[in-house]
């Protein structure tokens, strides 16, 4: 299958943090959500793709090309939104777009104006006078105005009101319908991903916990709820994360078939976990 991005064996160390052996891939025409708690390494992965930080090991290919050897080619086909977008504050929205347009051969000014209208961007207002949400909208409009084949969005919905957030997710979903545009989307708002992502990669403490399609996650992951007898040694290997309360325990497993066989009906409650529960348990469970 034609891949939008292939990451293999990525490693980057900071004092007190290690991103280690991160590998995943995303086929063209799909959306991947990059999830994980704060400090898991999501932004570092995005910075490594953009070559904003130097990797210590591993490879990244975007649209079939090495992101370092063919950096300019890759970036010209890539739309990005940073977690905290920054622009020349004293320039207007119009001037900012004009500045950015020079760097993209496929820049479509009509498309930018159309998006600016849809997003309610005031073209003649200075960027420094825009709210955080509107700056994020500007960043999105810039990313979407040069026919990018791969969108790299770092927390794009943060700071956006719920109505626009929903509209944006619908727009992103519509974008991939052409079969050539792909999106890598980091967020900690898991409800966004349940609506949008075809693939999910979960990072924790700099390591990939899982990277698979949403269907696989729905099929494989199971929440087991029952009494304290679930803590018995023979059941332990089944669980990825366990939380116990005064009333019993909840355990998360990715081996749903084995779990269904192991527990008799009525003995425990088996539920399909929400993405939010998976993230919570894998981040906080024991």
């Amino acid at each position: 299958m034609d891949e939008a991005i292939v990451i293999s064996g990525l490693r980057k160390a900071y004092p007190g943090f290690l991103l280690n052996d991160v590998s995943f891939q995303l086929p063209r025409g799909y959306i991947m959500g990059l999830i994980g708690p704060n400090g898991a390494g999501k932004t570092t992965v995005i910075k490594l793709i953009l070559n904003l930080v130097r990797r210590e090991a591993g490879h990244i290919t975007v649209l079939g090309r090495d992101n370092l050897r063919e950096e300019t080619w890759v970036k010209s086909r890539l739309g990005f939104v940073h977690e905290t977008p920054a622009f020349y504050g004293y320039l207007t929205v119009r001037q900012t777009a004009s500045l950015v347009s020079r760097f993209y051969p496929a820049w479509d000014d009509a498309r930018f104006r159309e998006l600016a209208g849809e997003f309610g961007l005031p073209l003649h207002k200075r960027v420094s006078r825009l709210s955080r949400g509107t700056v994020m909208k500007l960043s999105l409009a810039l990313a979407l105005s040069h026919s990018a084949e791969f969108l790299l969005l770092d927390e794009p919905t943060s700071g956006l009101d719920p109505v626009f957030r929903r509209e944006l997710l619908e727009r992103l979903s519509a974008l991939i319908q052409d079969g050539r545009t792909s999106i890598l989307f980091s967020t900690h708002i898991t409800s966004d991903l349940e609506r949008l992502a075809d693939y999910l990669t979960f990072l924790r403490e700099g390591q990939v916990v899982f990277s698979s399609s949403r269907e696989e996650i729905q099929d494989n992951w199971l929440m087991v709820k029952g009494g304290n007898e679930l803590l018995e040694e023979r059941y332990r290997p089944l669980f990825q994360a366990v939380r116990s309360t005064a009333y019993g325990i909840q355990a998360l497993t990715s081996r749903s078939e084995e779990a269904r066989r192991a527990f008799a009906a009525g003995q425990v409650l088996l539920e399909r976990p929400t993405l939010d529960e998976i993230v919570f348990f894998l981040s906080k469970g024991h």
Binding site: V53, F87, Y88, L91, F103
Partner: protein, 239 residues
Amino acid sequence: MLRILIKDFKAVGLFWLLGLFIDVFFVTIFLGSNLAFLLAQVLMIFLLTLVQPAVEDRFGLASFLNSLPVNRADVVKAQYVSTGLLVLAGLALFVAVPSGLGRLILSPEIKTAALLTPAGLLSFLLPLILLELLFLPLYFRQGLGKSIWYFLASLIGLAVILTGGLRIVSGLAERPMSEIFPVDFGILTVPYQPFLPLAGRLKAALGTAGLALVGMLTLSGLVWLSMSLAIRFYKRREF
């Protein structure tokens, strides 16, 4: 690289023009003393080249600018070219102000002839170029904030080395320092006066053309070295 230059001009060109305008009306007040005018002009143009890094630093644009489809080496080269253009603009003002504008604004009696000789022009260009060549690699390695501190520390270090070197030469040659590096009140009107004996000896040894050639080669080598270091440093920078 041209795209980056155009971007820089569109983003901060107004500040540059404003700076040059202020330069004309501010630096002219030093025209009474050629040395003060020279130093003020060097400082003003140097500060003007800091405008673009300062704006990018103020708005935290490093991640944004480096996410655009540009080669980091081109970013460095564009910075050297824009710095070079500002130095040339500074040189144009350095010539224009004493020869015309300054006399018009101040007094026609002001004696600025020493500034408008080849030695006078070199005494403006060389220190400015050397300052830029020292500063830019530091900037691309450390960013604006840290680089200014490192830069000041480097200047103090160089001053210590140069004065120490002069003392050693003076001791070895058994001649007073004032003979090797003659500084008196004449420096106020002829700022390059202390370098005249050295320049005279070099000219006698190499000839005018030889001296110019050696000077050009040395300067080109320094530009190449500074830019290579800056590119190397910037490629290793993380944002």
